[in-house]
Every structure is written in C-alpha cells, then in structure tokens.
Amino acid sequence: MARSNYPGWMSWIADWYVPQDVPGFVIFFGQSILFGLSIWALALWLVKRHEKNLAEREAKYRHIHLTHMAPPLEAASAHLMLASVVLSHSLSRTFLANLKKLFGGRIKIYEDTINRGRREVMMRLAEEAHQKGIDAVYNIRFLTTGMRFGQRGGLSFEMLAYGTAVRLPARTGFSDENAVTTSAYGETIEPTRA
C-alpha cells in the first residue's frame, strides 16, 4: 500500500474523498491541519458561548452585592461561601500557548481563560447567594492554581473565589436611597445599585 506511512484512521477518512494517487504525506499534513482547524473553530465557538452565557448571568444577578470590602457590623448573619471552577484549554490553544512561550511575553490565551474563570466563579457565588436568599458577599478573595491532569494533558486552571455571605437586617437596605451602612473598619458604604 502506498498509504501505509501515516495513521490508519487517516486513510479510512481519506478513502472517502481523496483519489488513490495522492501521496501519503499530503494526506497526513492536509488532514492534520484540517483536524487542528476544526478543533480551533469548535473551541472558539465554545468560548464565545460561555462568554455570552456569562454576560446574561451578570445582568441577571446584578442585585447581589459582591464586594472586596469588610461586611457591615449590623449584618444579621454571616458565613463562609466558596465557589470554584476548573477550566482546560483545547489542543489547538495549548499548542498556540506553548508556541508563544518560546518567545515569552504576554500569553493572551491563558489570560482569557483565567478572566473567564474568575467571572464564572463570581457568578457561581451570586447564584448560590440568590438561591439562599443572601443579600451580599463581602471580603471576596481570589485564588488561581495551574495544574496538569495526566501526563499529556494541557495546563488547566482552577479558579476559586471565597467570601463571607451576609444577610442584611433590612432586605431593602440596598434599594433604599437613604440607606447607608457602616463597614467593620468604620467607613460608610453608600448604596450603589438601585
């Protein structure tokens, strides 16, 4: 067989649409590029879909107050709340990121994944808060860890957000125009959302 110097599954696919007299290396490189491009397109579509979904949820949970500051002293209850997500890259994005690592500088693929993961965990905090009837999450801290699952797996990132979930004494506190609360450090927190 003229086509024995490349993986078997490639010839099975090639037999459907490539004439027999095309040399093996053309099929090998051609199909590798097609495979890479289709994964790249699929991955890009998934990322865009996730970003669209995040934008919708960010609009939906706008009323939950997520902040980095200390909670007000007059809060009715407080407990620790966690949210995390593990995001992996597609093969094509891992390849591009590794290519960029040779030259150094800004690796936009990793930045995008980390930012997307951070928005996702913020929304998970907001969703949990919404379900439990919690008004605000204070003192939010972020943590990012890179990890590799398996010997050949690409770099995955775990994003974590944790904070103190708080029920405010008057649930209308943040919708009342005159309501001003005081944080544990003494500064006043003006209501920011109508």
Binding site: L46, A75, H79, V86, S90, L91, F149, G153, S156
Partner: protein
Amino acid sequence: MILTNTETVPGYTIETSLGLVQGTTVRAKHVGRDITAALKNIIGGELGSYTSLMSEARAEAIERLKSEARMLGADGVVNIRLGTAAISSGAAEILAYGTAVKLSPVTKS
C-alpha cells in the same frame, strides 16, 4: 460554628482568640478513568469532575479545620484563608487555616 473570612463576625464580639487552626487534604483522580474529562482536554472547557473533586476536597479541609477548632472549644473561626498547590500531575493539596475564637453575641440596647 461560625466560619468567616473576615476579621470580625457581624453581631458578635470576639472574647478570646484560641490560636491558629488548620485543615489540609491531598486529593488525586486518575485521568484515564474519566472519558468526558479526556474529551474536554481536546476541545477545552470546564472539567466538571475536577471541579467537584476540588470542592469535595475543600469541604473536607474545612471539616478538619472545624474539628480542630471544636477540640479547642471554639464558637467560630475567623479570617479563614484557603490555599491550593498542585504537588504533582493530577494531585492537589488543599489547605484551610484560620483563627479559632470564642464569641459572645452583641446585646442590642
């Protein structure tokens, strides 16, 4: 038991600090066992099984932190910090630490 990652607990005053308490756990999962995770490594996206693995591990670390605080006779743990370290391929160490405290509720005047 009240757990917060703030220095104070709303509605309570801290009577005594009982010192540092911590909880830690190391977890791993075999990647070959999970077909969906292997597929997700091709096209990218959320690895759901690893997200749940990490949150289970974190719940266990916090449970250990709580049991350590309970042994000291604490009412709560304040200023909790979490840490994660990938110590080898597919295994992660999860650490939770905080200060165990005795609390007394603020009486409203």
